[in-house]
Amino acid sequence: MADWKESVENIVYSGRIKVPYKWYVGEVGSRFLTGIRDNKEFWGTKCPSCSKVYVPPVKNCAECFVLTDEWVKVKDTGTLESFTVVDYSHAMQPVKAPIIYGLVKLDGADGSILHMIGDVKKEDLKVGMKVKAVFADKREGTILDIKHFTPA
């Protein structure tokens, strides 16, 4: 009975899942993104309990579980907390490899923001280096309105 397995042709069926989405950023996130789009400014929210300033901003502080109630403007410069140079390319990446990702702690914020690092030589990347935001010429209210961060 089992010998049919020897000669069966194993078929593979290919497909894609295409489901369109539109995600509502919410009022808090919208203020953040429009701030970048319209004024090239970074705004974060501050927790009244622990005083942490979050960029990107949050409606509630995750650690204290209270609503944030204050907007704080932070600088467009910061410190590189971590980085990686990615050598592979896949459909979801905005630019072709090599892409450099970094976690940037903006001056005035606690925690860091994820983005790309550009106009830099791989060898020069160092944790702790100062970086500055470079904005895209055409900005549409998304995180890609920031083109990348670059050594300051």
């Binding site: 069926y13 497909g15 899942i17 295409k18 489901v19 369109p20 989405y21 539109k22 995600w23 509502y24 950023v25 919410g26 009022e27 808090v28 996130g29 949050v58 409606k59 509630n60 995750a62 650690e63 579980f65």
Partner: protein, 398 residues
């Protein structure tokens, strides 16, 4: 051998066709804060969290990880369950098991959905087998239309009977400030008139015979959260907690073609198991109120029979005689039900929560039986005729 468990708090957001002002984690946060406030607890009092929704409906993989900052789960025990439409009731059952195990005393259960962010049909079609079913399948409605047609054929049920259920749900919704659909125009008309209007109006599009738009549930954004507590502390938190008397489920089928379209045997089996645990012999007499997951109108007829509230084919009479209206013997869906609001990941939990509010006497304008509710019977539905059942009660189970 297992703790007894009660629901001591419940919160829900206002349910709307789209909540543009918040993203997913923020929506969840609203429901969580509402539940904590209802129970008079803080997030620090919560020992563990259970959350659920359908990933493809928000387009985020690992949704529990993503929403942890809004759900209160940072540095807490948390995991996610998902079982399609039954997700809300599945997470309620998980909340129950977390506490019944003795491992946790106060467990927060969250169900949510932002349907506005996705193409629901596009996402639902992916629930079906990619090789055998998906190429030809038409979304959630197709299966329900088949069931309704067969039922109408078997028992000479008419479109008016289906419409009568829709009207009940939507009239009940008028008492519920949280629910999505508020069809105020129904207030000024007699039930018979509304039924006639629904089945003759050209605006009320036929989607898949016999189902019209009015027979179906909406797509909704919303979140709900419930707090389950152990017998050691439940009564200190809530003076009249809603005890979980029994809960069971059956998810027997994987392929639509395998379903027995003549009966909802999974709902029947799960209900029987719950009634047996509770020692309930005459469900119609002994249950005071139901919050049933009825995704479409004819379910409000056929599934009453499957549960055992009446005999085969007797659903229409039960409904037309007014027994399931607010002042009837067995009010069904005082909240307005799924047909008035369907944030899918939350919907099953809304049934449990609304049932709990009825037992606790906190259901406001939609409270039945003057607040004296001995048993509330709640169900969840999804997938291939999957059925989840949870019976809530006023008295602590022995």
């Amino acid at each position: 051998m297992g703790k007894r468990v009660a629901i001591v708090g419940f919160g829900q957001t206002y349910q709307r066709s789209s909540r543009k002002d918040v993203n997913g984690p923020e929506l969840i946060n609203e429901a969580v804060r509402a539940a904590l406030e209802d129970a008079g607890l803080t997030i620090k009092d919560i020992d563990a969290i259970v959350i659920g929704n359908m990933d493809h409906f928000e387009g985020v993989n690992y949704v529990d990880s993503w929403s942890v900052e809004g759900s209160g789960g940072v540095m807490k025990p948390i995991f996610k369950l998902t079982t399609g439409g039954t997700t809300g009731s599945t997470v309620a059952m998980a909340g129950y098991y977390h506490v019944a195990s003795g491992m946790f005393d106060r467990v927060l259960v969250i169900g949510w959905e932002k349907n506005s962010e996705s193409d629901t049909t596009g996402a639902i079609v992916t629930a079906f087998n990619p090789v055998w079913e998906r190429p030809r399948f038409g979304g959630a409605i197709a299966g329900l239309a088949v069931e309704a047609s067969k039922y109408m054929h078997n028992y000479k049920v008419t479109e008016r009977d289906g419409a009568r259920v829709a009207v009940r749900e939507r009239l009940h919704a008028l008492n519920n400030p949280y629910t999505h659909l508020h069809q105020e125009w129904m207030k000024s008309m007699e039930i018979e008139q509304i039924v006639d209007l629904l089945i003759t109006s050209e605006e009320n599009q036929m989607l898949a015979y016999p189902l019209r738009m009015s027979d179906m549930c909406p797509r909704t954004d919303g979140a709900a959260a419930a707090i389950f507590a152990s017998e050691d502390i439940a009564e200190k938190i809530a003076p009249k907690p809603a005890w979980v008397v029994s809960t069971h489920n059956r998810h027997n089928y994987a392929l639509l073609g395998d379903i027995d379209w003549d009966s909802n045997d999974t709902l029947e089996s799960a209900s029987k198991a719950v009634f047996k645990d509770a020692g309930i012999k005459e469900p119609f007499k002994e249950i005071d109120v139901c919050e049933l997951y009825l995704p479409y109108s004819y379910a409000g007829l056929k599934w009453m029979e499957s549960i055992g509230f009446c005999g085969p084919g007797e659903g229409p009479k039960l409904v037309w005689d007014g027994h399931t209206d607010m002042d009837g013997e067995l009010p069904v869906n005082p909240s307005g039900g799924v047909m008035s609001s369907n944030p899918i990941g939350a919907t099953g939990l809304l049934r449990v929560g609304e049932g709990a509010l009825q037992v606790m006497g906190k259901a406001g304008d939609r409270q039945v039986k003057g607040g004296d509710v001995k048993y509330a019977f709640t169900t969840g539905f999804g997938g291939c005729n999957w059925a989840d059942v949870m019976l809530l009660g006023k008295k602590k189970p022995s």
